[in-house]
């Protein structure tokens, strides 16, 4: 089943991922033949851009680091200008299984933003302690805002439909945690329909999730602050504009 892949762009923000990005891009092409892949090289100092290009992806080479949010905003802008109506964000470290993309796109037919949720029963990804509590509280608040049950609001595996792409190309937050928390708040308050689909998450190719209590506390504080600030900001009106040709 590949009805909408022409309109779909896989966007991968990548920072110094030369060891994994090539394999991830190849895997995407293997599992989703014919789909377009855009790697946004977020100011890498290694060969991420050329490795991705060699693997067959289009590469947007940012001159300096903008953070995941900034890289994604560039990706949305590219999608909008080049006639893609759906954007699927996939991490370049191999954490997300491209085989799950069709499930996200399927759900996207009746929603504007679909999250691939890690804790919704599939896979063995687990987070404990304060970080887990923070995620639970965030999930509660954001579920209320979106009037839809969301359990994994910090997931970077997400698909955006035409309305969300138009919104995000202009308003995707480029701040810390903006790409996960604030983007959901913006989308929910603009009236986007947000859903989640359970996905299995693979262990990261490099590095382990931190369980340092101080870091967790800092994360909790910053996440709470990001949530508060995004709630205080003026609502963004969603323009029902035609899909660009």
């Amino acid at each position: 089943m590949s009805p909408t892949w022409d309109d779909t762009l896989i966007v991968m923000p990548a920072l110094n991922e030369q060891d994994s990005v090539g394999d991830v891009v190849s895997e995407v092409f293997a599992k989703l033949p014919g789909i377009s892949v855009l790697v946004v090289d977020d100011g890498s100092t290694d060969d991420t851009a050329s490795v991705a290009r060699a693997a067959g992806a289009k590469v947007l080479d940012l001159p300096f680091n903008l953070g995941v949010g900034g890289a994604m905003r560039a990706g949305f802008k590219y999608a909008l200008r080049n006639g893609f109506t759906n954007v699927v964000q996939v991490d370049s470290d191999g954490q997300h299984d491209p085989g799950e993309v069709p499930a996200l796109l399927e759900e996207l037919q009746t929603a504007d933003l679909v999250l691939g949720a890690r804790f919704a029963g599939v896979g063995e990804y687990a987070v404990r302690g304060p970080r887990h509590w923070a995620m639970t509280v965030l999930a509660g608040v954001l579920s209320g805002l979106a009037s839809s049950k969301l359990t994994d609001t910090t997931s970077g595996f997400r698909a955006s439909g035409p309305r969300a792409v138009t919104l995000f190309a202009e308003h995707y937050p480029a701040e810390y945690l903006g790409d996960t928390i604030e983007s959901l708040v913006i989308a929910a308050r603009s009236g986007c329909i947000i859903r989640q689909v359970p996905v299995a998450m693979r262990p990261r190719a490099g590095g382990v999730p931190s369980h340092n209590p101080v870091k967790s506390a800092v994360y909790l504080g910053r996440a709470g602050l990001a949530l508060l600030i995004s709630l205080m900001r003026p609502r963004v009106e969603l323009s029902e504009r035609a899909v660009p040709v």
Binding site: L60, L62, P63, L66, G70, R73, A74, K77, Y78, A174
Partner: protein, 121 residues
């Protein structure tokens, strides 16, 4: 107050104003960044020339020791200036981010055009 401290006050105020206006004149400062410094300089000059105006103003707002009014107003103005700097930094960051996006997209187009052209020839 002695005559020397009176003159010292006036000279300090004039120096502040001269530096601000000179930088504005040489386009080293844009006028929208200079407003608070100009207000600051003029206030200092008024107080330096007419020290009794400070006592009058302090009485007006109920401050017993007039010098505290000087500190208070100075802090407020410095606070506003630094706030304006932060806002300006945010604005500039946004602009550079947009420029980065645009150059990346242009770079991509050029690369595509060049590869198409090298294939043609």
């Amino acid at each position: 107050m002695s005559l020397s401290s009176y003159i010292f006050g006036i000279l300090a105020a004039l120096l502040t104003l001269t530096v601000v206006i000179e930088m504005l004149r040489r386009r080293r400062l844009r006028e929208r960044h200079v407003v608070w410094w100009l207000i600051f300089g003029v206030l200092v000059l008024i107080v330096a020339v007419f020290p009794s105006s400070l006592v009058w103003a302090a009485n007006l707002v109920g401050i017993t020791v007039p010098i505290n009014l000087v500190f208070f107003v100075s802090i407020i103005i410095l606070f506003l200036v630094s706030l304006q700097q932060s806002a300006e930094a945010t604005r500039l960051e946004n602009k550079t981010r947009i420029l980065a996006e645009e150059t990346a997209m242009l770079e991509m187009r050029i690369r595509k055009l060049e590869s198409e052209r090298s294939r043609e020839t």
